[in-house]
């Protein structure tokens, strides 16, 4: 008798519980996704917005940004043969990478300003083997027996003057094969292929 009553009343009891719990359930259904979005989603969106998106540039192509054109005209790896008397001042297992970037002002280049000089920011980068690596220019290429061309500069300053920038990086040997030159001008980013 008791079982019979339980079976008959169970569905209505369940419906009653859902009805009584409707408001808290709706609150949970709304707040949990909202909190998840605020705690996890928003930082991810911020991170994506802050990151410069680099546009790939094929070998030999030019790009225009900030009133200038930029062309990677030459790049080469110089493998280390050791720092001893028989070497080339570059440690074995390391390489110097030289890159020449041709910078030409366009008609719409902004006027040069001593107060707020314009530069392009450059780094050698690699994403080989799932490992993100970057290399900045060496401070003194001559320490590694590298001579920068007389007509070239090592600073990518944008002064409405045509320049050839010679950039020198110290990398592990063979990093060159997968490396690219990342250049940022203002908020624009470009990823140049090296000469292979």
């Amino acid at each position: 008798m008791t079982e019979l009553l339980t079976d008959e009343t169970a569905p209505s009891k369940r419906r009653g519980w859902w009805r009584r719990s409707l408001v808290p359930l709706v609150v949970v259904a709304v707040t949990v996704p909202a909190l998840t979005f605020v705690v996890i989603g928003l930082p991810i969106i911020d991170d994506i917005n802050e990151k410069t998106v680099f546009t790939p540039v094929a070998q030999g192509d030019s790009v225009k940004a900030g009133g200038y054109s930029f062309t990677l005209t030459l790049s080469q790896e110089f493998p280390g043969e050791g720092t001893g008397t028989d070497g080339n001042q570059i440690a074995q297992g390391s390489s110097l990478v030289g890159v020449i970037l041709e910078v030409r002002p366009l008609d719409d280049a902004p006027p040069a300003s001593d107060d707020d000089p314009l530069y392009c920011d450059v780094q050698l980068t690699s994403r080989a083997d799932g490992l993100s690596r970057e290399w900045s220019q060496v401070s003194s290429p001559s320490d590694y027996g590298y001579g920068v061309g007389e007509e070239r500069t090592t600073t990518c300053s944008l002064d409405r003057v045509p320049i050839d920038v010679e950039l020198v990086f110290l990398t592990p040997e063979h990093a060159y094969d997968d490396a690219t030159l990342d250049m940022t001008v203002g908020s624009e980013g470009f990823r140049f292929e090296l000469v292979q």
């Binding site: 720092t83 970057e134 220019q137 592990p172």
Partner: protein
Amino acid sequence: MRRRWGAIAAVVALVATGAAVASAPDGPATIAPLYVDGDVGETISSRLLTVTVHGAQLADELVVKYRDDAGDTTTDGVWVVIDATITMEQGYIVLTNTELRIGDRLFRVSEVAPSPSILVPEESSGIPQRGPFVFEVPLSALDDPAAAHAQVLFNPSAETRLDSVAAITVDLSSLATNPTIRIDPPTIEDH
């Protein structure tokens, strides 16, 4: 019957919660750096840095010949000179936050060695660079029994919370103090 099971479940949950709270690390420990321990001669990798300490020396005075403008290199205490090779694994870091821990005392690495210094290495990921890390410590620090297992903490930045940090143990208790030690600029290692 159902009530009894409910009561048992509540008690179990309460006990489990109590055990979890009791065994959880306290405030500072929950955000402490994750030290990767090693010894002299051992190569240790943290998230951003691979380090090998080759040895330690003590000196009354440092001799810096590669720069004429090196400052005062004498000390009322003693210089601890750690010879180490570092390799940056990804991006660029400076090592001016490196510390020497003797017991409860922490000594920040000295910037007495002029540029070029291993504290501001060449910006080259994956390239081993070797040079001296210099610490100025009072003589009393070496009398501490903890000097036998001092640690060099290669902090990759001032903010090391929950980051991995290479911690190399060195024995400073049995070292003789040299009158002078020559400090050389960092070198790129063949590898």
